[in-house]
């Protein structure tokens, strides 16, 4: 049985359509990633799953309970980490934890035990007395996750948990998610980082409130249409402009190199002349298998 099931979910804010006919299924122990630009509707989906907003149509089930029918039933099952930091900045690390534990009736010895375990995974123990507002970005995110985990939820809903987090802390954060998955938690997470999407079991590309594509990260890479190439030249502004003036080619900077995409019906041979004119000779162009980020860019333009 699926732990989370969203069927034909639609949400409008006044005349603005946020999400249209959206479907999502997550099984126990799955990590599902939602990927899309700003305003794609991700946060509306998260809020609806957590029973925080009403919606226009659709059915959302959490562990068999209809979200629209009873918030009380689903509340103990869910841990929600919103996109913006929403802990109390003037309370200490431990006071924040204790406050969230209290909301779920976790006090005394039970809380002490839980706290110890949360400090173990987060490394926040030495900072128990620091004001949450004075924590670094990575530590803030770990505290927010700890607060979402305090009542042992079966389901975690994480809205861009690693934004503003450095690469090492991001890696540690995902180690924690993998451990939670192993112990049976179901996780829905949004992220702008494609390396995180690759660590998920399933990813959904969403744009303008609609699902664009869904599948395992490897499957999604395969929906890239046409061919991708890497040019080992520094992507200066001028060079990128020159390539983008060639009709039919799409190009984007990737670190210190350039990726060029052709559409399905054309091969790179059709463009070699034009590329040579701007100093990009055949010998510095190599075909590549498109990565997830290439696929996302091609889909979203």
């Amino acid at each position: 049985m699926s732990i989370i099931s969203v069927e034909n979910f639609s949400k409008k804010y006044g005349n603005i359509v946020a999400v249209t006919d959206f479907n999502l299924v997550a099984d126990k122990g799955e990590i599902v990633a939602l990927v899309g630009p700003d305003g794609a509707g991700k946060t509306s989906i998260f809020r609806a799953i957590c029973g925080l907003i009403t919606y226009d149509s659709g059915i959302i089930n959490i562990s068999g309970f209809d979200v629209a029918k009873g918030f009380d039933k689903i509340k103990p099952l869910l841990g929600y980490m919103p996109q913006s930091f929403s802990l109390y900045p003037d309370l200490s690390v431990e006071e924040n934890l204790s406050f969230y534990a209290g909301l779920f009736g976790l006090t005394g010895k039970k809380f002490s035990e839980k706290k110890k375990r949360l400090y173990e995974f987060s490394g926040l123990g030495p900072f128990y007395n620091r004001r949450a507002g004075a924590l670094s970005g990575g530590m803030k995110q770990k505290l927010a996750l700890s607060c979402a985990l305090v009542h042992d939820p079966e389901i975690l809903v994480l809205d861009e948990p690693t934004t503003g987090v450095d690469p090492l802390s991001r890696r540690q954060f995902w180690e924690i998610l993998k451990d939670l998955k192993k112990s049976g938690s179901t996780i829905i997470v949004s992220t702008p980082y494609m390396d995180e999407v690759l660590l998920s079991d399933k990813a959904i590309f969403i744009f303008g409130g609609k699902k664009f594509a869904e599948g395992g990260p490897e499957d999604l890479t395969k929906i890239f249409k046409g061919n991708a190439y890497r040019v080992n030249l520094n992507p200066t502004y001028e060079r990128m402009e020159q390539i983008n003036r060639i009709p039919g080619l799409m190009s984007r900077r990737f670190g210190s190199s350039i990726h060029i995409y052709t559409n399905e019906s054309r091969s790179l041979n059709d463009y070699l002349g034009q590329l040579a004119e701007i100093g990009i000779e055949k010998n510095i162009i190599e075909p590549i298998s498109p990565e997830l980020e290439d696929t996302f860019i091609q889909l979203m333009g």
């Binding site: 990927v35 899309g36 630009p37 700003d38 305003g39 996109q83 490394g123 924590l135 670094s136 970005g137 990575g138 530590m139 861009e160 934004t163 503003g164 987090v165 450095d166 690469p167 090492l168 802390s169 991001r170 890696r171 540690q172 702008p192 494609m194 390396d195 992507p235 200066t236 502004y237 001028e238 990128m240 984007r252 900077r253 990737f254 670190g255 210190s256 980020e293 996302f296 860019i297 979203m300 333009g301």
Partner: protein, 245 residues
């Protein structure tokens, strides 16, 4: 080579806590410099000292040739600063915000009007410049913040995590604008947690627990440490220098 920023043993202590610990580096004019580091490493504190917003405890520094101790007002007029947090007024439109910031810089009405049109065109703001900033997605807000920091035509631009929370397509559009600015001679001093963006920089530094652990060209550093990419280099350098994350 003319230097846009010089830093020599710059230090900032808050009580017993040393946030920035004797960092030294130079940034050349027209360079895109990536100021990387772990969360809480002291990057924002360092940037605030360079922008004349925070008095150092010790060490030396110049920005645009002006001393960071005695000439902070001159520094403020010659630089642009885009902070980590969205700091435009949410109940004003983009245009109203730009008009407000322009008047803070004492720009004349006619010059300001011309400059806003110019920035609107160059940064592609026209679609949303007359909407309340509150209702705008992050990627657009960030372009507006960039416009506000560029109003007075600064020679150096400090950008503190300008693309945090922005998707891959929008991020690249933002960097196209930064590259164009650098081509026109603006010096860019930028922090980011996206390692592909760090690779767009001519040089980077990596900071951890108040100290700079490495400075150099990204490709040369990857070779020097024999790492597959910048992300792995960053993770290994930071893990090696001790943990306090």
């Amino acid at each position: 080579m003319e230097l846009a920023v010089t830093i020599d043993k710059l230090t900032k202590q808050f009580g017993h806590f040393t946030a920035v610990n004797e960092i030294s580096l130079n940034v050349e004019r027209g360079e895109i410099f990536g100021f990387l580091g772990a969360n809480g490493a002291g990057k924002t504190t360092a940037i605030r000292m360079l922008c004349g917003l925070l008095m150092p405890t010790s060490g030396k520094g110049t920005v645009n040739g002006f001393d960071i101790y005695n000439e902070s007002e001159k520094i403020k007029r010659s630089i642009g600063y885009m902070s980590q947090k969205f700091s435009l007024y949410r109940d004003l439109t983009g245009r109203e915000n730009l008009q407000f910031y322009g008047s803070v810089y004492q720009m004349s009405n006619s010059d300001l009007k011309k400059r806003i049109e110019e920035l609107s065109k160059n940064l592609d703001l026209s679609e949303f410049i007359d909407r309340l900033t509150e209702s705008l997605p992050t990627g657009w807000r960030q372009r507006l913040s960039l416009a506000a920091s560029l109003l007075h035509r600064p020679q150096i631009l400090f950008l503190d995590e300008p693309t945090g929370g922005v998707d891959p397509v929008f991020r690249r559009k933002f960097w196209e604008i930064l590259y164009r600015l650098a081509d026109d001679g603006t010096t860019l001093f930028v922090t980011t947690h996206y390692m592909d963006e760090a690779e767009f920089c001519r040089r980077i530094s990596i900071m951890h627990q108040g100290q700079i652990v490495e400075v150099g060209n990204p490709q040369e550093l990857i070779k020097k440490y024999n790492e597959p990419n910048l992300q792995e280099l960053f993770i290994n350098l930071i893990s090696k220098s001790g943990s306090d994350v």
